[in-house]
């Protein structure tokens, strides 16, 4: 029994049952497959999280995002800068660098991107850790202060997308959102 010492003292010399051996082999091969499939997806897939990260002070990153937002803020017909809920709407150049800042408790600024155009996305936090959760496409990336995460992002759908914070960041956590608009 499993609660008594093995009655055969040389238990390690007993042959393995065929059914067990068969399952061990199948399970082992399935594990190998899953392992190599992760590697393979880096070559055959289009969804792989970038490893490109730079150390940066929160202040320096904030300066970059503010400069980016000022330079490319959307203007309406009268030449007035466009805002949404008090947050500037920014239209970055196609295929260019895009900056987004996570802080207590907003994702800043609002971005307007073109469908099927790859952007170089820069993401960091200026205070605590946050979670960038793009909805409803459900892409979820952690955001750290002090680390500037750079990845290429290509929207494949158009319309309004929400960003919801999914890393707990204090009492305002559940009201921390942002927006990305994708136009055709």
């Amino acid at each position: 029994m499993a609660i008594t010492p093995p009655s055969n003292r040389l238990w390690w010399k007993e042959p393995i049952q065929a059914i067990e051996l068969g399952w061990v082999i199948i399970a082992f091969l399935w594990g190998l497959f899953m392992f190599f499939f992760m590697i393979a997806w880096h070559f055959i897939g289009d969804q792989n999280l970038s490893n490109e990260t730079y150390r940066i002070t929160p202040e320096a990153f904030e300066d970059k995002v503010v400069a980016f937002a000022e330079e490319y803020q959307k203007k309406d017909a009268n030449g007035e800068p466009v805002e949404e809920a008090g947050v500037p709407v920014v239209v970055p150049p196609e295929g260019g660098d895009v900056y987004m800042l996570a802080r207590l408790w907003e994702f800043w600024p609002v971005l307007e991107l073109k469908k099927d155009v790859p952007y170089r996305f820069h993401l960091s936090s200026t205070d605590w850790q946050h979670g960038f959760s793009l909805q409803p496409t459900n892409i979820n990336i952690s955001v750290h202060p002090g680390y500037e995460h750079v990845f290429t992002l290509t929207p494949t759908g158009s319309g309004d997308f929400g960003i919801v914070c999914n890393e707990f960041c204090g009492i305002g956590h559940h009201s921390m959102t942002g927006r990305i608009r994708v136009v055709e």
Binding site: I3, W23, M34, H42, G45, D127, N140, S175
Partner: protein, 576 residues
């Protein structure tokens, strides 16, 4: 000169008090027995506290109910994590370790006074943590990621608790040494003890990881260190946070084997394979830190792939092996017991009215199908981006830790209490139904949270309607439905939890005494319970058609669900 030293190195020949259990034939030492009781009862107290907090959390996340205000919600969620994931489970595991060493090996417990010191430290740490959380300035969640800072009491309490637990694990190893030296058993340790050793080794690694990161974090909270790097913290912290869950896996797998042995007379199909599967946990489970770090910046894909897969899924292989050998051992034993008809008589005629068996089997099935499969999906480098930090993650670990570990521990308690307290289960009908309430509730919690997570619902969030948010986003109606069903499941699980606590506490206090040679257990052990079953490999040529069918169903679900998720992933925006 101090009494502690005296306890640590008992004089040779110091008489230890033993009694022989009438039902199992096990030799039980008094100190071991008392300490097992103390740790197990304390565990149940924290289960009660943490479970109540969990119910409030689930009812708050039910959008139509939202019972707590935001501040209290985050406070309760922090307390829930600490009380159930750390205190309930680790107190119980210490009881399991003492049982698997002293009781199963018929040995005395090493240094009982130090074991009491360990117990006192753990109780002090656990109480202090609750004090820190209830003060209201430590609502930082179980993970306490910096730069968010809790009260220094919070970190200190966890350190004290970890030191106590570490001491208890050391005494477990010391007891093994004593049993070996005093030749209280013959040959190799039993499989269940082997599983407990696995849990103990992993516990040392994980508790050390916890200490390594929490000590500087505590120093930071009292102002002696200027800052804690957020990414470094996560890498080391998860060496405790996730790797420690593998203590639970080892412990509850050991309990599966123990219950199958005690209730059905089951023995492993082959000692070699089952022990090898445990051994794989020791070799690879410490890599599990990566499972919560797949969506982080600053860590390379190579590191993520090697670690998250436990080096080519070799630890997953260990669990997959137990997934065959545990039901296989049950089937072989039942066929030997005379339930040999057709493919599934062994299962249909199993003692489903015995809460130890029903709880154990439901734990096995749900741990595999819900917790296990979702864990591998979450732990796949790319697929993780689909669910990272959504409520899918708590869905996964309620499948492992609640439907798996907690249910298995409850099932084990139905055996331990009559044997240790020598009182019979007081309300058999309540006990009989309890695992079904709790199991169904826990399964529901896991499945509905996973469903909601698939729809993007974030974890640890007070309000998914985002009413106070600057930019509104509407989650689909199905997400609200799932969160409501999650709340209902939590009520069901809470009813099961209350039933468990009532039955166990009442049994301990007032259960019918099992005295006299005629005393019988309401939920009987297997007749062969006290005999060593003939030779090994008497399951020499087991026919296990039922197990083959079950494992085939499991494997098919696993493979299908795996590829369905790759299909979802391929439809996301492109990122690299």
């Amino acid at each position: 000169m101090t009494s502690i030293e005296h306890g640590a190195v008992p004089a040779a020949g110091l008489p230890a008090e033993f009694r022989t259990c009438r039902f199992t034939g096990l030799r039980i030492e008094k100190n071991a027995e008392t300490l097992i009781k103390a740790n197990a009862v304390t565990a149940v107290v924290f289960l009660m506290l943490g479970g109540l907090m969990g119910l409030l959390v689930a009812l708050t996340r039910w959008p139509a109910v939202q019972i707590l205000p935001a501040e209290w919600f985050y406070l309760m969620l922090t307390g829930h994590g600490a009380n159930v994931l750390l205190f309930w489970i680790i107190f119980f595991e210490i009881a399991v370790l003492y049982f698997a060493s002293a009781v199963l090996l018929g040995s005395r417990l090493a240094a009982p006074k130090l074991a009491w010191l360990a117990f006192v430290l753990m109780v002090a740490g656990a109480l202090m943590a609750n004090y820190a959380v209830l003060r209201g300035d430590s609502s930082v969640m179980f993970t306490s990621y910096p730069p968010m800072q809790a009260s220094h009491w919070f970190y200190l309490s966890l350190i004290i608790f970890a030191v106590g637990a570490l001491l208890a694990v050391v005494l477990f190893f010391a007891t093994l040494v004593i049993a070996k030296a005093e030749r209280t058993y013959d040959g190799s340790v039993p499989l269940v003890t082997f599983g407990a050793i696995t849990a103990g080794i992993i516990a040392v690694f994980t508790l050390a990881s916890g200490a390594i990161i929490l000590i500087p974090t505590w120093l930071w909270s009292v102002g002696l260190i200027s800052g804690i790097d957020s990414l470094m913290y996560k890498v080391v912290w998860w060496g405790m946070g996730h790797s420690s869950q593998q203590i639970n896996v080892s412990a509850h797998v050991a309990i599966w084997y123990a219950i199958a042995a005690m209730v059905l007379g089951a023995k492993p199909l082959s000692e070699k394979v089952s022990r090898m599967a445990f051994f794989m946990y020791i070799l690879f489970l410490q890599l599990a830190s990566a499972h919560h770090l797949l969506a982080e910046p600053g860590l390379s894909s190579t590191w993520k792939i090697v670690n998250t897969s436990y080096m080519m899924y070799l630890a997953v292989l260990g669990s997959l092996i137990h997934g065959l050998t545990v039901p296989g051992a049950v089937e072989a034993a039942q066929r030997r017991n005379g339930y040999d008809k057709g493919w599934f008589e062994w299962l249909t005629k199993a003692p489903w009215g015995n809460p130890a068996f029903s709880g154990m089997f439901m734990s096995l099935v749900m741990f595999g199908f819900i917790g296990g499969i979702s864990g591998v999906i979450l732990g796949t480098e790319q697929l993780n981006v689909l669910m990272h930090n959504t409520i899918y993650v708590p869905g996964h670990f309620h499948g492992t830790v609640v439907a798996g570990t907690t249910l298995a521990f409850m099932a084990g308690t139905y055996l331990l209490v009559p044997l240790l307290f020598q009182r019979d289960i007081i309300w058999p009908t309540v006990a009989k139904w309890q695992p079904y309430f709790f199991g169904l509730g826990a399964g529901g919690i896991s499945m509905f949270m996973m469903g909601a997570g698939t729809l993007g619902v974030p974890r640890r969030s007070w309000d998914i309607s985002l009413t106070d948010a600057p930019h509104v986003f509407e989650f689909p109606a199905a997400a609200y439905l799932m969160m409501g069903l999650n709340g209902l499941s939590a009520i069901l699980a809470a009813i099961g939890g209350v039933m468990f606590i009532l039955v166990i506490v009442a049994t301990i206090l007032a259960g019918p005494k099992l005295v006299g040679p005629d005393a019988k257990l309401t939920f009987p052990l297997h007749d062969k319970g006290r005999e060593a079953v003939s030779t090994y490999g008497s399951e020499a040529h087991p026919k296990l058609p039922g197990t083959i069918v079950l494992v085939t169903i499991f494997f098919t679900c696993f493979v299908l669900y795996y590829f369905v998720n790759w299909k979802y992933l391929s439809e996301l925006w492109l990122f690299n």
